[in-house]
Amino acid sequence: MRDVSIIGIGQTPVGELWEKSLRHLAHDAIVAALRDAGTGQADALYVGNMLSGELAEQEHLGALFADFAGLRGIEAFKIEAACASGAAALRVGHMAVASGLYDMVIVCGVEKMTDAIGADTTAALALAADQEYEVSQGVSFVALNALLMRRYMYEYNVPHEAFAGFSVNAHRNGAGNPNAMFRRPITAETYRRAAMIADPINLMDSSPICDGAAVVVLAPSDLASDGRGSGPAVRILASTSATDSLAIHDRRDPLFLEAAYLSSQKAYVQAGVTPADIDLFELHDAFSIMSALSLEATGFARRGEGVRWAEDDGERIAIDGELPLSTMGGLKARGHPVGATGVYQVVEVVQQLRGEAGVNQVKDARLGMAQNIGGSGATVITHVLAAE
């Protein structure tokens, strides 16, 4: 197995991009990443996407994007793992380069959600859950997370306001990211007064529906430092994934994200690091409850104490805090174009490790982690990256 590095990154702004089609989003991010990598060629393209068939009425994305990026002829196809599709495509790209099969691979996460209307989007997002025994009952994806949040608040005696700091931190960081969907800070008061979607989850607990595309270009580490690209290469120290049951009701313990535990433990071993070594963590804050549960499953907090990282408006998870989280706004403020999210997270870790994060730069960032969660925790993919 060879070490793999990221030699180029690209991203579109995230938002309701009425003027951009699915293919143009992918094209823009691919072209930006190839330029950043200093190349015009690649051996393969792997696309992470969840809902193009449902929401943009288009499948067969690999060939479509390869053609529109001027790469007609190369190997290209789509990888799907619900909201973890982006990181899943990166896992495949990583395997292709690490194995020695290819020397230059493009990984593109993309989602076009705003061509469809609200109830269709809500129904489409529920495809991540168990159709026959969750979705058929009328439960939405938000409500599944609400069931977890309510139980968490009950078991650990935590009030809803205790989660506010995750949202406040994400929006504070979104304000400094030119590609973020939401660029205005919020207060704990904004959080408390937000409209309810599925009790106890309100609008400020949830990430928004949006469009976006993000791309990384991969190469073997020993070929990565030839000075072609515009930034220093960033090495992938770990790339791991694990699974759990699709349905929450089938879990051994609904409040423990077993797949997040398994994939992060594998990642720590593969990278030879511990949670204490991590300088910043792009976690999957699709809902504020997911932030708390991820921190517990990945070893940053004991059971029931993940929410304590949100204390004092998220002071300890801020850019200059003990453990910076969602440093470019996270899913909450940068936005959550579902199949693209996993690649956005990794692109943002690369920005931090290259020292290109602007006003959101984490000082002396050497080691970053990104974790992408599919469904309510059924697929969890973890990447650990290091500055060269």
Binding site: E132, Q137, G138, S140, A143, L147, A195, D199
Partner: protein, 131 residues
């Protein structure tokens, strides 16, 4: 709605027919033929009592397509007394009266219908019972 799929799951939706593992004795719902506790074969049908308690709940103010007309409604994770947990709507109860730990029992209710000429789907919901 998918007619064949709804027909396939009729025993589960109407009567909570699950399975029992012949290796470890755990009751399983929904049926899956391989025991999630010991990975032994679990193909022996077992009908659950439909009695249990609320493990968690949420009142929804935004619904997936096909359920908008029922808003707001309350969904729950119900821990059945035989062990398995399932996801279902609560019925015949005010949202603000629902509590974690509240004893509930299964009833058969309309889940949704596909317009005036479409299929009507029936299945399980749970209602409060006196302990």
């Amino acid at each position: 709605m998918r007619i064949a799929r709804n027909w396939r799951t009729r025993q589960q939706r109407y009567s909570l027919v699950g399975e029992v593992c012949t290796e470890c004795g755990n009751k399983i719902f929904p049926p899956r033929d391989v025991c999630p506790h010991c990975t032994g074969p679990a193909q022996l049908p077992y009908t659950l009592s439909g009695r249990g308690e609320v493990y968690s709940y949420s009142t929804m103010y935004s619904a997936p397509k096909g359920f908008e007309e029922y808003l707001p409604y309350t969904v729950a994770l119900v821990q059945l007394k035989e062990g398995p947990m399932l996801t279902a709507q609560l019925t015949d109860v005010d949202a603000d009266e629902v509590r974690i730990g509240m004893p509930v029992e299964m009833v058969t209710r309309k889940i949704r219908e596909d317009g005036e000429a479409g299929q009507i789907l029936y299945g399980y919901k749970f209602r409060s019972v006196l302990a």
